[in-house]
Symmetry: C2
Subunit: 403 residues, 2 copies
């Protein structure tokens, strides 16, 4: 399929009666959906403490960070971090009142047993800065209108999770049982009686290699992990998309097979656009290299002509971001940007800045990152049925008015 | 003066009718003052958004983070960061509504001029993780009862400030004028008419070498800098105590002399206990190496006997923290602790953890850090009239009940 220019795509979207067209956003990219005059949805109760002005509430289970709200300080404040739940979070008020009593069952190990969070806290302590990103971040730019939340860039954030390394836990249970291939995590969401649990159960398997840096976290950015982000206890699988970091984890199993749950078998798969996703397709696990510009990115704002500090974030996926280039003419010419601020390790993103002189007019600003493995962010997204893992630099371009 | 043991000091404090005694805290260190049953003071309006449960409100201008509220994720959440103002913050509501319009005068340079924050934002971008710490943090342990807020450990936090490097600003004004020795910053607090401005003006001078890593910040931890922390614009002098990072800065001057303001001339000086502080005494500028344990530190909590992950923070001052040792017997024996989590650079603190086996009973837990310059945190504080810069490991010890 031939790639359209951003402008061309916008026309296509408008002519096909897309959401952008319905919102009356002539000439404005879908990235700007959060900027419509449509009445904002209210934050759901369990996330009422989020910074409403800086969030886009798609639904009670899908809440996005505005592109203009990332700041330039590497860490995403918890009250601006996106929320995405596959099913409604548990409503047991007690679990957050007594977080240390939450129990985790551990199986597929030499000595299977259960641990309370209080017990887990005696086993070890680790702090992991990392990009938490929904598999569907960037879905808004897919042209075949995949179902699911129309995220642009804001289903991602860089945060610091703190908890016990899974490796330390494994040591306490005598190691993994023989022949295990996957680390399978089960969420604590209640399953209504009479339903086949596999249709609703939030359970994901990842290769056991992902265990190396995984932690069971009770803290985010220095505060007790809130329910909205998986408290009292969440498994954190650095480098993998968010769905693999199971919230309110109640069971951690080392298994020979992948989970039979629908969310593992037929959702979160790399299926071609015209194929029904299934177990024969590759699972959505590791994140690729990606970057985007956060400032300037507000289509409602006119930037003063002259010197502009263009800034954004660049992540490497499974290896660190190594460099990032910026284009101020829609990807024709590229120049190297500069990383600023602290390097929080390979799973975090880096802040970058590019010092540009912009004349009056409209400018198409783009960026593309390269990681330590040598992968460079592609111009085109990898097409897939459900619109996962969009890292196309062209899709993430912003059109900026300068006067 | 011979050093007392913690227990001995506690006795002394109690017998001399200290605050601890008044609060009826027999056998409890002054570190636990925040834990009294005295009615908590309410947060002042300008800081009403702070996490009240995790703060100790000493006064409207002095608000401390509880020792149990630091978490283990390196960064101190902004809503738990301490507040200390020398005079009441400005009350001009407009300054926070239009932060980009705030003006900074720059003098003592080749081309003196004024900049709005919007203009500063075009000059450069830098992000600096650093320990912000009040000069008087740890004052509660001085035995001569110096006047001032009785901070224990919570007049400190590790945060990320973002703004423009002072060096980039200097480049825009043609560099410093000849012969300048100090960088002098003036706060925007209004001075009541008829008063000698020098008595109230919040103006501090630091050696121009401090300019190297200084920034003019409009952001903290990814959010616009709030008034409580010096918004719209604050100068950040990494490695120096908090008073040197002037809030709501309205004038940045390179000067030959130190500021004539009282806060420079006679406050924040290293005066012996029995001398009146004055310009002949060394100014309170650079921070020394320091560390303290945050978990376990709650005197109301009984820790379960067995394996315990003792954790805390270690800062190096002007160079990075290099190592930290922990003692579980009041400083008789020491063992090396392990740093965890990201290294945010030399001005930040590091999280450390020490894996101990604690039997039932009471344990005196201590830690002492060493920095890259080779300085080790001393057992004794450096005595001084106003109770500044306490980095004694013995004072920061915690007494823990294990059962």
């Amino acid at each position: 399929m031939e790639k359209l220019t951003n402008a061309g795509r916008r026309q296509l979207l408008l002519s096909t009666g897309s959401i952008a067209a319905m919102a009356g956003l002539a000439g404005v990219a879908r990235a700007d959906l959060g900027k419509t005059d449509a009445p904002a949805k209210a934050l759901p109760n369990y996330a009422s403490w989020k910074d409403a002005d800086n969030m886009i509430v798609h639904s009670a289970n899908t809440i996005e960070t505005r592109r203009t709200a990332f700041g330039s300080s590497v860490i995403t404040p918890t009250n601006r971090l996106f929320v995405r739940n596959n099913v409604a979070p548990p409503t047991d008020a007690n679990m957050m009142k007594e977080p240390d009593s939450w129990a985790l069952e551990v199986s597929g190990v030499a000595k299977p047993r259960s641990f309370t969070v209080a017990e887990l806290k005696t086993l070890g302590l680790a702090s992991v800065p990392m990009v938490l990103q929904c598999s569907g971040n960037g879905r808004a730019w897919f042209e075949h209108n995949p179902s699911g939340t129309q995220w642009t860039v804001g289903a991602a954030g860089c945060v610091i999770f703190t908890g016990v390394p899974v490796k330390a836990l494994l040591e306490a249970v005598g190691g993994m049982a023989d022949g295990m291939v996957y680390m399978t995590s089960t969420g604590g969401e209640p399953i209504p009686e009479g339903l086949d649990p596999n249709t609703l159960r939030v359970e994901r398997s990842v290769p056991i290699s992902a265990m190396e840096d995984a932690i069971l976290a009770w803290e985010i950015n220095g505060e007790a992990l809130p329910l909205a982000h998986g408290g009292p206890l969440r498994i954190i699988v650095p480098g993998y998309t968010g769905v693999n970091s199971i919230k309110y984890i109640k069971h951690l199993a080392f298994t020979k097979e992948q989970s039979p749950a629908k969310i593992q078998q037929t959702s979160y798969r790399w299926a071609p656009i015209d194929e029904k996703p299934g177990p024969n397709h590759e699972s959505i696990w590791e994140m690729p290299v990606k970057s985007w510009i956060n400032f300037p990115s507000d289509p409602d704002q006119t930037v003063a002509a002259g010197r502009v500090q263009i800034s954004g974030v660049a992540m490497g996926g499974m290896t660190a971001a190594k460099s990032v280039e910026v284009s101020i003419n829609g990807g024709k010419d590229w120049e190297k940007a500069e990383f600023i601020g602290p390097d929080l390790g390979k799973y975090a993103w880096r802040e970058f800045v590019f010092n540009a002189d912009l004349a009056a007019g409209t400018h198409e600003l783009a960026c593309r990152a390269t990681n330590e493995a040598g992968d460079t962010q592609p111009e085109a997204r990898r097409e897939n049925n459900r619109g996962y893992i969009n890292n196309s630099w062209r899709d993430h371009m912003v059109s900026i008015k300068v006067a």
